[in-house]
Symmetry: C2
Subunit: 348 residues, 2 copies
DNA sequence: CTGAAAGCGCTTACAG
DNA sequence: CTGAAAGCGCTTACAG
C-alpha cells in the first residue's frame, strides 16, 4: 500500500505539499498540484483513513444502524435497501461513505451503539427501530455524536427524527373501514417494544372515538410481524365470540398468515373480512386479493434522513436549511381488494 | 471522548502499561490489570480504532460488499439479512465487527472496491454478486487483502469462494420435470452478467442432453429477477408457437409476475404449466399454488463464508482447518404444488 | 508557494 | 513488572 511518504519521495517534494495538493487546499502551485494528482493516480494512492481520522478527528463515513438476525428475515430487510440507496445518493454529494452497521440479535443494542461510537469509525449515525424508551438515544445525545433516528421515541426529544406516518395510516384506515359500514374493527400490533406500536394503537383508539365506537381491548391482537404472527392473529380473531368485520395490520407481512388461516376456514379476505395492511411493499403487492396498503418512496426517505443528519453537522450544515429536522413521513393509500366490499358478510 | 492518556493519568501509570493491561498481554501485575480494567469501565474508555489501526495495520473489522439500489428492492435483499446474521455470529468469536458496505447502483463496483480497500477500514472482505468476468477479484487479489466471494467467477480461480448449488438446482429440477413427463422445458434467466446465470444455463443444457431432449434457444427467456421480469417471461412464453409445458426460474420472485400473467389468461400454475422456482424464500412461501423451490440455511452460509475468509487470514487461521476454502452450497428441494401434476394439459 | 515539525491515539520493542 | 520512546499515516499551523 503506497503512503503519502512514498508519493512525496517519488515526486521529490514534502509530504505537506502532497497533502495540500490532494486536499484542494489553496496556495499550491498549479503545476505542482497537477503533478501530485497525476502521480497519485498512477501509483494508486488513496489516503489511509486511519491516519486521516486520527489527525482530523473525522472519518468521512456515516453509520446506519440496523438490526440483523433471523427474526428479520423477510421482514424489515427489503425496507432498508431502498432507504440505503437514498442515503448514499445524498451522502455521496459530500464524499461521505455509508457503513451499514448490523446489530446482531445476540447483542444488546445499547452495547452495540456504544462500541460503534467508541470505535470512532463514523462521523454521524442513523439509528432505526426506535423503542418507546430507547437508551441508545440517551447515549448518543451524551456522546455528542450527530445522529438522526428513523422512528420516534419518548426518549430525548431534542434530536432529529423522521418517522413514517403511523398515525395517519391508522386514521385513514379506520375512517375508511367506518365509511364502508364497519363498526367492529380489530388491530394487529407487533409483539415488541417499538415505539411505532404505541403510536399506531393511539391513533386507532382516537379514530374509534371520533366515530363513537367503543374501544374493545379484545380487538387488540399482538403477534410477530410476519407470516406466523398473522396466522396466530387470524386464529385468535376467529375464536372471538363477537368477531370483528375488519382488521388493520401494523405490518403487511402479517397478511400472509392471515389470508392463509382464513382460507383454511373457507373465508375470503375482502368478502368475509376487510383487511388493510401497512406498507405497499414488493411482498404486499403479491397478495391476492390485493392488499389495501400505503406506499412511500424509500429512496426519498433515505435522502431526507441524510439531509436531516447532515444539517446537524457543523461541517455540512451550510448546505441545508436546517428547517426540517424532524418530520412525519407521509404515506399514500393504494386501493386494493382486501377491503373492497362495503358491508362484508359476517364471519360464520 | 476519553483517551488512553486520560486513563493513564487518572491511574497515575504509563500509557504502555494501560495498553498492555487492556490487551491481555502477559507480564502485567494482576492488581494493576484489575485497576485498569475497572477504571476503563468506569470512564467508559474504549480504544480509538484509528489509533489502533494506524499502529497495528489492522482494523478488527470485516467488510461485506453488497449491491444496494432500487433494482434490488424486494429482490436479493432479504437474502442478505440471513447471511449477515451468520457472518456476525462467526466473526464475533474473534471480536471482529462486520461492516456492510453497500455499493450504490450509481457507482462502478470496481471503483467502489478500490475505494474501500484504500480506505483501509477492513481487514478482509466478502464480496457478493460475482460476475463471470469480475474485475473486483483481480483487484483484490493484487491488493493482498484477504477476501472470499459469495458466488463463482471465471476470474482469478485462486481465491476462496462459496456458491449456491445452481448446477444442482437446475439438474434436479429438469430431472423432476422429465420424470413427470415434460419434454418441452423452458428456463428463465436474469438479464445481467452474474456468473450464476451461465452455470444455471449450462446445467440446464447438460440435463436436457442427458435426457435426449434437444436444446431450443427459444426456450431460454431472459428478464429481470422480479415481478415484472416474470410477467414479461410469461408473456413471451404464451406467444411461442410450440409452448413449453414446464419452466425453471433462476429467481423465485419471477414467479409472481408469471403467476399473474398466466391467471390473466385463465391458466393455472401446476395444472397448465409446471413451474419450479429457485430459493424457498419468505416471499416464495407466499405463492399459491405453492412454489416448488429449494431451501438452504442462510445463517449457516454466513458462518461458512466467515470461516472461509478467516482461514485465509494469518491471524485467525489457527482456528480453522483451512480445508474447505471453496465449496458449493447444497440446497434441498421443497415440494410445492407448482409442478405437481404429472402431465399438464397443454396451454391453450 | 513550500518545507519542517508537531501531534492525533494507539501498540510494542527496548531498557531497566 | 513498568516506563519512556518510537512510529504507524496523515493534516495543519508556522516559518520562510
Amino acid at each position: 500500500m503506497v503512503s503519502i511518504k512514498d508519493l512525496a519521495k517519488h515526486l521529490d517534494i514534502s509530504i505537506g505539499t502532497v497533502s495540500r495538493a490532494l486536499n484542494d487546499k489553496p496556495d499550491v502551485n498549479k503545476q505542482t498540484r497537477e503533478k501530485v494528482l497525476q502521480a497519485a493516480d498512477n501509483l494508486g494512492y488513496v489516503a489511509n483513513q486511519s491516519g486521516r481520522s486520527l489527525r482530523q478527528g473525522t472519518t468521512n463515513a456515516i453509520g446506519f444502524l440496523i438490526e440483523s438476525g433471523a427474526d428479520t428475515e423477510g421482514n424489515s430487510d427489503n425496507f432498508f435497501m431502498g432507504v440505503i440507496d437514498g442515503l448514499q445518493s445524498e451522502l455521496s454529494k459530500h464524499k461521505l461513505d455509508l457503513l451499514v452497521l448490523p446489530c446482531s440479535t445476540d447483542e444488546n443494542p445499547e452495547n452495540y451503539v456504544k462500541r460503534m461510537v467508541a470505535r470512532q469509525l463514523v462521523d454521524g449515525m442513523i439509528i432505526s427501530a426506535t423503542h418507546t424508551i430507547d437508551k441508545r438515544i440517551d447515549f448518543l445525545s451524551k456522546s455528542k455524536l450527530p445522529f438522526v433516528a428513523l422512528g420516534q421515541s419518548e426518549t430525548g426529544k431534542n434530536h432529529p427524527w423522521i418517522d413514517l406516518d403511523f398515525e395517519g395510516v391508522a386514521r385513514v384506515s379506520i375512517d375508511r373501514f367506518v365509511k364502508n359500514g364497519h363498526r367492529r374493527i380489530a388491530i394487529a400490533l407487533s409483539a415488541n417494544e417499538l415505539n411505532l406500536g404505541s403510536i399506531f394503537l393511539k391513533s386507532y383508539k382516537d379514530s374509534l372515538k371520533r366515530h363513537n365506537i367503543e374501544f374493545s381491548p379484545e380487538l387488540v391482537l399482538q403477534a410477530n410481524s410476519n407470516d406466523k404472527g398473522g396466522y396466530a392473529i387470524a386464529d385468535e380473531l376467529l375464536n372471538l365470540n363477537d368477531r370483528p368485520t375488519a382488521i388493520l395490520l401494523v405490518h403487511e407481512l402479517m397478511a400472509h398468515g392471515l389470508y392463509r388461516r382464513l382460507a383454511e376456514d373457507g373465508l375470503v379476505v375482502g368478502r368475509d373480512l376487510a383487511v388493510i395492511g401497512f406498507r405497499n411493499s414488493a411482498q404486499a403487492r403479491m397478495f391476492s386479493p390485493s392488499l389495501t396498503s400505503f406506499k412511500l418512496s424509500l429512496r426519498d426517505l433515505g435522502i431526507a434522513l441524510a439531509a436531516s443528519l447532515l444539517s446537524t453537522m457543523p461541517a455540512y450544515q451550510k448546505h441545508y436549511s436546517g428547517k426540517m429536522l424532524s418530520q412525519i413521513w407521509p404515506m399514500e393509500i393504494v386501493d386494493g381488494e382486501s377491503d373492497a366490499e362495503k358491508i362484508p358478510k359476517n364471519l360464520t
